[in-house]
């Protein structure tokens, strides 16, 4: 019994040392995406770490077009920088985060309960780019409205995405560039700066 325990412990230790060695050898760059094993392990641990009561918790906010719109504005302002307006995660920051932000429209996220989504928004996720956006407690209405909007994301239309673009945080330079692009499409003479421009 004792011998088999020692054997298992030695194997686990070896695996841990080998994995740590691989991590050090590979470096800590965020350019590559996590492996399937790493993702599965992290997702499993994250799911286990969410308190059980959140797994069955329903959104206390009645979902109306107004609530969806408020959640949309909140998302565009706070979340879209990493998650993108449409929830795909295809953004400048999202593309090279480790782990990458998930595509919120897909099954893995949409199958989470309302409470699990709320808990994740409120408490963030360690060792990822996801910060905690709220304090303790289950009554942050803004976060519950975000949960309602997350449920709506798979249905988001292109015109709603355009509307969200007007709500995204922008620098004065970006606002000016957008204005130039609009004017250009409406037929005004082209602006003088060279093309292409890099930004966001």
């Amino acid at each position: 019994m004792k011998r088999s325990f020692l054997f298992v412990a030695a194997v686990i230790l070896l695996l841990v040392v080998a994995y740590a060695g691989r991590m050090v050898h590979r470096g800590f760059s965020t350019r590559s995406a996590p492996s399937a094993v790493e993702s599965t392990l992290a997702m499993t641990l994250r799911d286990m770490a969410i308190p059980t009561r959140y797994k069955t918790m329903k959104n206390p906010v009645a979902v109306t077009p107004e609530v969806i719109h408020e959640g949309m504005a909140h998302w565009a302002d706070h979340c879209a920088t990493c998650h993108a307006n449409n929830g795909s995660g295809d953004t400048m920051y999202g593309r090279t985060m480790y782990p990458r932000p998930p595509d919120i429209r897909k099954k893995d996220t949409q199958e989470m309960s309302d409470g699990e989504l709320y808990y994740t928004i409120q408490n963030g996720i360690r060792l990822s780019g996801m910060p905690a956006f709220g304090g303790p407690g289950d009554n942050d209405l803004d976060s519950w409205k975000l949960v309602a909007f997350i449920r709506y994301l798979p249905l988001l239309s292109q015109s709603e995405q355009r509307e969200m673009e007007t709500m995204n945080p922008k620098s004065p330079q970006e606002i000016e560039e957008e204005r130039e692009e609009e004017n250009f499409l409406e037929g005004s003479p082209a602006p003088s700066p060279p093309q292409p421009n890099h930004h966001h």
Binding site: G187, P189, A190, Q195, H199
Partner: protein
């Protein structure tokens, strides 16, 4: 000590500016000169020719209305937001209008 803090703060400020300038979407603005199902060629407003790949995920807008690749015509004014993939550009979204070509100005 204060100097070291100042230099560190400046370094971070420079790094964030660099990321904003080089890490995101490339904006291509000009007139469509060639078009296929997989790419679009644009003469930019400063007379350079740039080819941008089109993908199934590329979205299109004519004015402010959702549109399709088929509505896009040679000579249209276009603003493309593209992602740089290795040395090529891949269109994320294409906005266009059928107004006067930019090269006529």
């Amino acid at each position: 000590m204060n100097r070291r803090v100042l230099i560190t703060a400046l370094l971070f400020a420079c790094l964030s500016l660099f990321a904003r300038a080089h890490g995101g979407m490339v904006h291509v603005m000009g007139t469509v000169t060639a078009l296929s199902d997989i790419s679009i060629t644009v003469e930019t407003t400063d007379k350079k020719t740039i080819e941008v790949a089109l993908t199934d995920a590329t979205t299109y807008e004519n004015g402010s209305k959702p549109s399709t690749r088929k509505d896009l015509k040679i000579g249209a004014r276009v603003v493309i937001h593209a992602v740089k993939v290795k040395d090529a550009l891949q269109a994320h979204d294409v906005r266009f209008s059928e107004g006067t070509p930019a090269s006529s100005h």
